[in-house]
Symmetry: C2
Subunit: 263 residues, 2 copies
Amino acid sequence: MIPGRRRILGVAGTLLGAGVAGALAGRLPSTAAATAPVSAAPLPWPYPRLDPDVVAARAYWDYFDGHCMYGVFAGIVGELAEKCGGPFRTFPLELMKYGAGGVAGWGTLCGTLNGAAAAIHLVSADPEPVIDEVFGWYSSETLPDFVPEESPKPLPRSVARSPLCHVSVAEWCKVSGLDAYSVERNERCARLAAATARHTVESLNLQQAGALPLTHPVPEEVQLCRSCHERGGQMANARGRMHCRACHPGIGADHLDASAKGK
Amino acid sequence: MIPGRRRILGVAGTLLGAGVAGALAGRLPSTAAATAPVSAAPLPWPYPRLDPDVVAARAYWDYFDGHCMYGVFAGIVGELAEKCGGPFRTFPLELMKYGAGGVAGWGTLCGTLNGAAAAIHLVSADPEPVIDEVFGWYSSETLPDFVPEESPKPLPRSVARSPLCHVSVAEWCKVSGLDAYSVERNERCARLAAATARHTVESLNLQQAGALPLTHPVPEEVQLCRSCHERGGQMANARGRMHCRACHPGIGADHLDASAKGK
């Protein structure tokens, strides 16, 4: 294991020329283009505080161009490209279409959160607290709380209980009595993209002002599970901050009693 | 809902100038930079077939620079930047560090798959079958099946049963008897990044040769669940292709009998 090897080679490349760095790495460049260094602007990129409502409306419409992940990411980064230009203008926004339906319909991570996390990482010097806030908010609030001016028809709202697309959609189907492939579910996800983009921008703005509050921390119930199953616990076999009971509904007091007794 | 609105505005922007397009959209540019069009190269970007073993070794080492999502994405796209130059050189690879530990430690989508899906979407004209193959492979094979030349020590392998970091790590802890925060688990995830990058490149190469096989389709057990719960089913409340029993272990024959009788 050689952490930071590429960074060391980066310095070597600058000093000695990329061809020599390639030889040091045991790889010879296969074409002339191989000697050109990667020249992406280092992160974080500039973040002038954005208007959460402007970005929300933008994300809502972007959803219909490229679904959930694209909606949130293009809503935020498209606005930054217009405001700041620079490296934002050469970023291929359409890449983020891959996250649709929990990545190509697999139902894993909700695309609105995948897009939010990517956008946060692009512009924040300390992305983790902002991601924690947005993921915690998404898992525990009654959503979507965004209503587009152009189609103000009321729509059922639900608590996702999870950052996962599959769970989030199933909970909404339970509350609404509607189909996971209905027009209403599609509209719900567009509004969710808008709501998530808005909360992401609100959180980025607060962080930049030095005032990001931890309004959606890991719930006490989850902290109790983590006290045994996370780093340093007596059975540290779990990674994550998701709500445990969304996938482990059967675990009750008997499990906790047995665990406390070391069984 | 105005699907394709941005594309229409894109055309309008080219014809009339971006300032007019902004006014059409009801948004006035706030700075001079706002009138500059977004100029990212359209997807897919070029894909000359890569050597799966070269990319795997690269992803293994990249893991130690930026964890799982970065490992796979930088392994593939870093190699493309060296081989092709062009737009790959201005892509901010370090963005993909956000996917570490299922996105900032949340345990959602395994970062190796998040990075693979993004890389596939960047270079494939038809990304979905490649993503399906890589996610299906990851969920059902005994992994990691990559051994680095530099540290060939054997390491326990397991079947993830899911594309989710939380489930994948827990299954590995069960098989190995080791801790989710152990040195061995970290090494396991580095090898998993290498294995996933290798299978992704193998699949992209096969697709480009017109010979991508469906070697890891949705299992029959999951197809049975989907026949009721997915699009067009009698209770279409689920989106996704994940293995159902990883989170719904208690569902047995009685559920299927009751469902068949319409209860």
